[in-house]
Symmetry: T
Subunit: 69 residues, 12 copies
């Protein structure tokens, strides 16, 4: 393995479906602007309950990506 330097960005994905969908939303958004996304780590999970009782799930993740040389 070549010795790269990586950067971690902390982002929050949201979804009305569930926690896995919130992670996918966060990763999809990250991949649209960052090349070389390599891994994620879940930091915390929470959600907001709207006035009609439906729930918006939020998952905070750190996304790791290789910095270009």
């Amino acid at each position: 393995m070549t010795d790269h330097v990586f950067k971690l960005s902390e982002i929050v994905g949201t979804s009305h479906e569930g926690s896995d969908a919130a992670i996918r939303a966060a990763l999809k958004r990250a991949q649209s602007t960052i090349r070389n996304v390599k891994w994620y780590e879940v930091v915390s999970q929470r959600g907001f309950v709207e006035d009609d009782g439906t729930v918006q799930h939020q998952v905070v993740i750190k996304v790791g990506f290789a910095l270009d040389d």
Copy 2:
């Protein structure tokens, strides 16, 4: 935003289906007795394995709700 005071209650939802279903079960129970449930935060996740090998998932969450004035 008006300056409300909120309370956090720690509850444990359980489900044989998975962790998202356990969160939903906990929130549904909370909303049946507490008005003004506004958000939740996941504290921890675990589960019990029954004698026949099936798994009961448990998610500990904190539920935040506005105290009436």
Copy 3:
């Protein structure tokens, strides 16, 4: 000291002024419904930024009070 049993309730005070004011708001609300409030512990601090840029500070505290015998 007599051997009492105490209970901890987690509440969130909010204020547009600052974090000390948010703690005072939470304690004032607690004292209006709970007798024998004895101490508090800060759990976390955060805040919401409103659309006009003003900030609502939130302090999560645990309030300890003596259970009546």
Copy 4:
């Protein structure tokens, strides 16, 4: 196992005897007002030293109990 919802209450038992006695005091008080106490988890341990040098031990525990359906 039926899928119940549980609640966690944080209480503080005190005893001049020691930490196990403080846990028993907290559980005894909890069982006098809550039905269905199922488990406890130790959160932290501390104590106060009185002017004559004797010690009041305090154990903070979370008590889990099944919510009635």
Copy 5:
């Protein structure tokens, strides 16, 4: 309840489907070699993003099982 001694093993389940599936994979593997698996606790969640953009989810769990007498 008889006073057993339990052991905790830390394992990592992986799945391209999601976090619940990763937990199931870890538990299934544990049950194939360990008798008396009784519970699990989630330690952390993360995932690797492959070159084609698909994601391998990883859930680190501790598995508790009764030691034979």
Copy 6:
């Protein structure tokens, strides 16, 4: 609520006045370059004592903001 993706940036505000002023300094700087700042979370508090004994307070916060679609 629409399902947005948010980003968290960790910044450190400083002030000779106190911790609330340090948070305000950090938020003001963040709002000058980032649109859509929505919330902050306090990570840690510290300070440096200068040679003449005056104190520079530092508050580390995470600032959450909505990513444009």
Copy 7:
């Protein structure tokens, strides 16, 4: 001191008597199968309340032992 390599095993001792007895039960079991047990560290303490109100205390410990060369 010779430079050995040690291993840590996480085990759970249980006892109806108290936490010290639960630690002793865990260590006794460990020593019956592992040679060279050198130290333990308490990870967490909890307990289950049985239907008749008696309590089974559980102490999770890590046991350190020297690996044979």
Copy 8:
């Protein structure tokens, strides 16, 4: 920068005014007996509620100072 060795002392400042005043009280006391106080880090915040409802805020800080050569 010369390579000094520093020491950290954990002290608790108290004030009826607020948390910043409690930090100032702790630092003032530290500076009266320790030369070369260089920085502080907040460890935790809490307070005691007196019988008349007034509050004594307490901030636990670590104070760093250079050891004389």
Copy 9:
């Protein structure tokens, strides 16, 4: 309550009897050299297993005491 400043010292009590005895040993030693010991907080618990299988329990505590004015 007068606004005192307190100091926290971290000490380790040891005992072949159990954890409560280790806490008592640490407090007794602290009280022999420090006036005004007011409280303790348990930081961690561990123990060493001697060659003959007996166990020396160790409890790390922080001891709080009032600084003289």
Copy 10:
């Protein structure tokens, strides 16, 4: 000291030599694109073992730098 605002970036340095070299690699990369790098804090350390048994050490650090006014 002037009251600046700082930013923290989380990066991962890698090296086949060891952990200090991994920190140096991360700092060198940071300094090539960020002016005013002032400090770092180690978040975690880990490493990957390659198929031939050699090890790539990874150190996750937070890098603090002054934001230009």
Copy 11:
């Protein structure tokens, strides 16, 4: 990537040379008995000072390895 299940073992490497050497000692020992060692994570670092003042450094790591199918 194929969906494997991994196991984490917690081991302690020791060395009179330094922390990197202690990690290498732990990994070398792990690789001598476990096939498929893939990564390590540093849990904590400490050391013992011997009577002649020399120091034995200890690094606690978790070693991850693929379980055979």
Copy 12:
């Protein structure tokens, strides 16, 4: 083992060479004033980047030593 009482002091070693050298500097300083230094535990690692780009590494350790009887 005789049942001693130990004390933990938190100190910060600094070095331009690396983290192991910073630990050695802290231990050397501790041993010059404290008899009976027995062990250390690493609390955190950080460093300051000087204006010319060189780095001063800092390691915060707790030093344990036996209190004289």
